[in-house]
């Protein structure tokens, strides 16, 4: 090839252009790589967030017929006559934290007036669905654990 010998007329410029293209190509590749890298970099590898599994303590803390709100975990722990279950306390409408109104026996959302009963079913308001039921089980130490990231069909009770 002409690298060694005398270059053809115009060979120098074509090779020069080839190098510029190589450079621009490498720059494009670097940009593409930077985009991938940026995605990697921007997605944190560890999170400083409470774990999805909340520990609600020993079951005997909750008398039968009680609705207890765990503000930190954003859940209700309810000990109904059929057993334990847990509802998400986050309104299905726009994510406000609901409160339990013991006098009326309903869960009410302060933002847009959605109301739910103690089984999470929607009674009133703009919420599209009722409050989801969360998975509840007993740990080896006998503590009630609630997985906030896993919903279960309604009316699944934990009997202790």
């Amino acid at each position: 090839m002409p690298e060694e010998g005398k270059p053809k007329p115009g060979g120098e410029t074509t090779r020069r252009e080839a190098f510029v293209k190589l450079g621009v190509g490498a720059a494009c590749a670097a940009c593409a790589g930077a985009a991938v890298f940026g995605f990697e970099f921007l997605s944190p590898n560890v999170l400083y967030e409470p774990s999805a599994v909340a520990n609600a303590g020993k079951p005997d803390r909750y008398p039968v017929g009680s609705v207890t709100q765990d503000l930190k975990a954003g859940i209700y722990v309810i000990h109904g006559p059929e057993g334990f279950y847990s509802l998400s306390a986050v309104c299905t409408h726009l994510g406000c934290l609901t409160v339990w109104n013991a006098d009326l026996g309903i869960v009410a959302c302060p933002c847009h007036g959605s109301k739910f009963n103690e089984h999470g079913e929607k009674i009133d308001g703009p919420a599209p669905r009722g409050l989801p039921w969360l998975r509840v089980w007993l740990s080896d130490e006998g503590d009630l654990l609630v997985d906030r990231s896993t919903t279960v069909p309604a009316k699944q009770y934990l009997r202790t």
Binding site: F37, E40, F41, S43, P44, N45, V46
Partner: protein, 247 residues
């Protein structure tokens, strides 16, 4: 394949949208090339043509260009590092550890930022001496020299304020010593120090102040002075080439 790719590119460059964005764009003739400089917001501070002599390595050793290069690297890495940094005590230090241990390429970015900062200080000093020994500070470039001195001081301040941010022993005591130096200024020294640290000791307030200085105030100031610096190069007749200035 390459042909067709090029065809696509030139077709793309011919579209109205492209031309509305890039106007003339780059091209093979001198008009297009001139327009490329004139019509680019970043390049328009430079003249369309420059003396061949000023491009030689001997003329500048590219020290000014390299200083700008480090500034750009520092800006990019710095912005990325800010995403994983909380300017609070002692979380700042934990963030350094997280950068090192869990953030993808976090330690690389931190290294790059740190070493570039050192390189920038060195390059800016070298730039200054090079300019001096070539006599490039002489009329009509006196004011650009002064701007250069301001940029040197800004560089040192940027480096100094950045020093505190990791909140390790090195940072803490370097800043403590520096702050006490400041307080030895007659009359106003104590007040200066109080304002700089936002209190009497190097603690959370000082960290936050240094953070704001390092990430907002000083870089913006430096960017403004950089723009003036480059603009003055052109206004003062281009890079000094050692000719035509002597009496």
């Amino acid at each position: 394949m390459a042909k067709t790719l090029e065809g696509y590119i030139s077709e793309l460059q011919g579209t109205r949208v492209w031309r509305s964005v890039f106007r003339g764009g780059a091209g093979a003739n001198n008009l297009r090339r001139s327009l490329a400089v004139q019509q680019n917001v970043f390049l328009h501070l430079a003249s369309v043509k420059i003396s061949r002599r000023s491009l030689s390595f001997r003329a500048t050793w590219f020290l000014g260009t390299l200083s700008l290069g480090t500034f750009l690297i520092l800006a990019i890495t710095g912005i990325l590092l800010m995403l994983y940094y909380h300017p609070s005590v002692p979380q700042a230090y934990a963030d350094m550890k997280d950068l090192q241990f869990v953030v993808s390429a976090g330690v690389f970015l931190r290294n790059l930022h740190r070493w570039s900062a050192h390189a920038m200080v060195f390059l800016v000093f070298a730039h200054m001496f090079k300019v001096f020994y070539r006599g490039a500070y002489r009329s009509p470039r006196e004011f650009n020299w002064v701007i250069g001195v301001v940029l040197l001081i800004l560089t040192l301040l940027l480096s100094y304020t950045g020093y505190l941010l990791p909140w390790d022993q090195l940072a803490f005591w370097a800043i403590t010593v520096g702050a006490n130096l400041m307080s030895s200024v007659p009359v106003l020294g104590q007040k200066f120090r109080f304002l700089m640290l936002g209190g009497n000791t190097v603690n959370a307030n000082a960290l936050l102040r240094f953070y704001v200085l390092h990430c907002v105030i000083l870089p913006l100031t430096a960017a403004v002075f950089l723009a003036i610096h480059f603009w003055r190069i052109r206004k003062d007749g281009g890079l000094y080439t050692g000719q035509g200035d002597s009496k």
